[in-house]
């Protein structure tokens, strides 16, 4: 050790202090407050009464019929909403990965000078408000919109493809909302990749796709994981794309929670409880991943 210490270990805690402080005060404390709220009694039409109860969680998991006097049964309504939202966010993440990885790869293989410009090109559309972008997307895909008119004029289809108010439109909207959150982290990781490794693999007669799977993917995996987290988790709670493009016919997690705070139901403890259940699910998934990653790191 000629040059001295390079260990970051003693600095780890000091370096985390700013993050702890900012998030602790402005995110953790409000969340703890909400955790408490989920165990309180709802005040009629919004607000809470400081009487501790499990009513909100009971409402989530158990049903006693429309009038509340039937035998208690498992309430599938909200579990189904969770399932559908998770499925939707999962598909969105997969789509973003399929398109986002090649895009990130493409940017990383440009000359160093132009890479920053490409990054900006990916993010420029996001200077326009999400609502406006989603409305414009809807304009493009509606029955008499440019996409359908174009396809019909070249004779590819006879009648308009019904896209608006379908799950396909919702997926398109979600994909459009979160794409850069996949591209940029992957780019950050791919840019580091040493192409000499690919060349070495090619010299050993590995096919392109074997090289991609066996050599590239392990190196850029942290970027892919970061991208998946950044797309999946926000997509779980998204409601603008489902509402505007899907027709808001069914609650998603995001709109269900929104309704409890801003809709006429005004049930804060239930909204808080749904959020806490969502939070614990995501938290569990993240911690399991972090454990697995740490174990792998030790090997």
């Amino acid at each position: 050790m000629a040059g001295g210490d390079t260990s970051w270990r003693p600095l780890a805690r000091p370096l985390l202090i700013p993050a702890w402080l900012v998030i602790g005060i402005f995110a953790l404390l409000p969340v703890l407050l909400m955790a408490v709220y989920s165990f309180l009694t709802k005040e009629f039409r919004g607000g809470v009464i400081w009487d501790f109860t499990l009513t909100a969680y009971d409402q989530f998991f158990i049903t006693r019929g429309l009038f509340g006097d039937e035998a208690a049964q498992v309430e599938w309504t909200y579990i189904t909403i969770f399932g559908l939202s998770i499925l939707q966010a999962g598909i969105c993440t997969a789509l973003c990965l399929i398109v986002g990885f090649p895009t990130a790869w493409f940017i990383a293989t440009r000359p160093a000078r132009t890479r920053a410009v490409w990054l900006f090109l990916i993010t420029i559309p996001y200077w326009v408000n999400l609502l406006i972008r989603t409305v414009s997307l809807k304009f493009l895909i509606r029955d008499n919109g440019p996409l359908n008119e174009g396809l019909m004029s070249i004779g590819l289809i006879d009648g308009p493809l019904p896209l608006v108010n379908t799950n396909l439109a919702v997926q398109l909207g979600l994909f459009y909302s979160y794409l850069p959150f996949m591209v940029l982290p992957i780019y950050a990781a791919v840019e580091r990749y040493n192409f000499a490794l690919s060349e070495a693999a090619a010299d050993l007669y590995a096919s392109r796709w074997t090289t991609l799977r066996e050599i590239v993917l392990p190196v850029v995996r942290p970027g892919i994981v970061a991208g998946c987290i950044l797309v999946f988790v926000p997509a779980l709670g998204a409601f603008l794309a489902p509402d505007l493009l899907g027709g808001a016919k069914t609650f998603m997690i995001g709109s269900l929670i929104e309704e409890q705070f801003k809709g006429s139901q005004g049930n804060w403890p239930f909204g808080a409880a749904v959020s806490m259940i969502l939070l614990s699910l995501v938290l569990m998934a993240l911690l399991i991943y972090a454990r697995a990653a740490a174990r792998e790191g030790e090997r």
Binding site: W8, G24, A116, P185, W268
Partner: protein, 266 residues
């Protein structure tokens, strides 16, 4: 034989990605020049909505809102990137320490909580500790929820950087700060750029949290724009959006030119 950087299908997917990203923007730009008051019916080419943006009754409100949005996004993204970089160094380079798992969860917490919950809870919290809602509360709230968006790309980048570079620098008698500034930071740059950009667009776009913690008379662009929704989106919103795109293109061009100049003089 094409090079190892080539993968069949990657280029078409990239093109697809750009087409999808930019197609709706063409609608936005086209309808900003619409002569009618509707965004669904075309009423001939006109610049009236641009005139409206600068001289209409809401000109002051939108100008101020755009200014607030840009300054808040710049400050929130920058401070979040600094905080996230420090946190990423600790998490990735700091080895094992107690509370690491908890720290990881904490840093990503703003990502996991639905926005409306953060919004209501933050408002209750700010009111309880006697903070006046306004520019300051928006800024700190944005800073907090921007951190994970900056942290994840930076940490992902950092994981690919071996300690050997830094060790080599230290072997050559660079001080610790020098090794960090001259070796680690440039290696980290793509991660920093990605993280900062994501934090920036997340802050620029936020409506729900901002709407709750902004206080009377404060507007950001999203809150001002959502205002127009009750009566239907008018083309003046499209004009404002197009102007925002123009500003962003200016930024990009400036960044490109500065970058090129920097590369000419090593």
């Amino acid at each position: 034989m094409k090079g190892v950087r080539y993968y069949p299908g990657f280029l078409p997917l990239t093109v697809l990605c750009l087409v999808i990203l930019y197609a709706p923007l063409i609608v936005v730009m086209a309808y900003s020049f619409n002569g009618s008051t509707s965004i669904t019916k075309w009423g001939g080419f006109s610049l009236r909505w641009y005139v409206d943006v600068f001289t209409g009754p809401d000109a002051g409100r939108f100008g101020q809102a755009a200014w607030n949005s840009l300054t808040i996004a710049l400050m929130a993204a920058t401070s979040a990137t600094v905080i996230a970089t420090a946190a990423a160094l600790a998490m990735v380079k700091g080895g094992r320490f107690r509370g690491k798992g908890a720290s990881f969860a904490l840093i990503n917490l703003p990502l996991m909580v639905p926005e409306i919950v953060t919004a209501v809870a933050s408002l209750i919290f700010f009111t309880a500790i006697g903070l006046t809602t306004g520019y300051g509360t928006i800024l700190v709230a944005h800073m907090a929820f921007c951190i994970p968006f900056a942290f994840l790309p930076i940490a992902a980048r950092l994981e690919g950087i071996e300690g050997s570079y830094e060790q080599a620098a230290r072997d050559l008698y660079a001080t610790r700060a020098q090794a960090f500034r001259l070796i680690l930071l440039p290696l980290l740059a793509p991660g920093l750029a990605s993280g900062w950009l994501l934090a920036f667009i997340i802050s620029l776009d936020d409506f729900i949290i901002t709407n709750f913690v902004k206080g009377a008379g404060m507007e950001t662009l999203p809150t001002a724009i959502f205002g127009s929704v009750k009566q239907g989106i008018k083309p003046n919103i499209m004009a404002i959006s197009t102007l925002m795109l123009a500003v962003s293109v200016l930024f990009v061009t400036a960044a490109y030119l500065i970058n090129r100049k920097g590369q000419k003089t090593p």
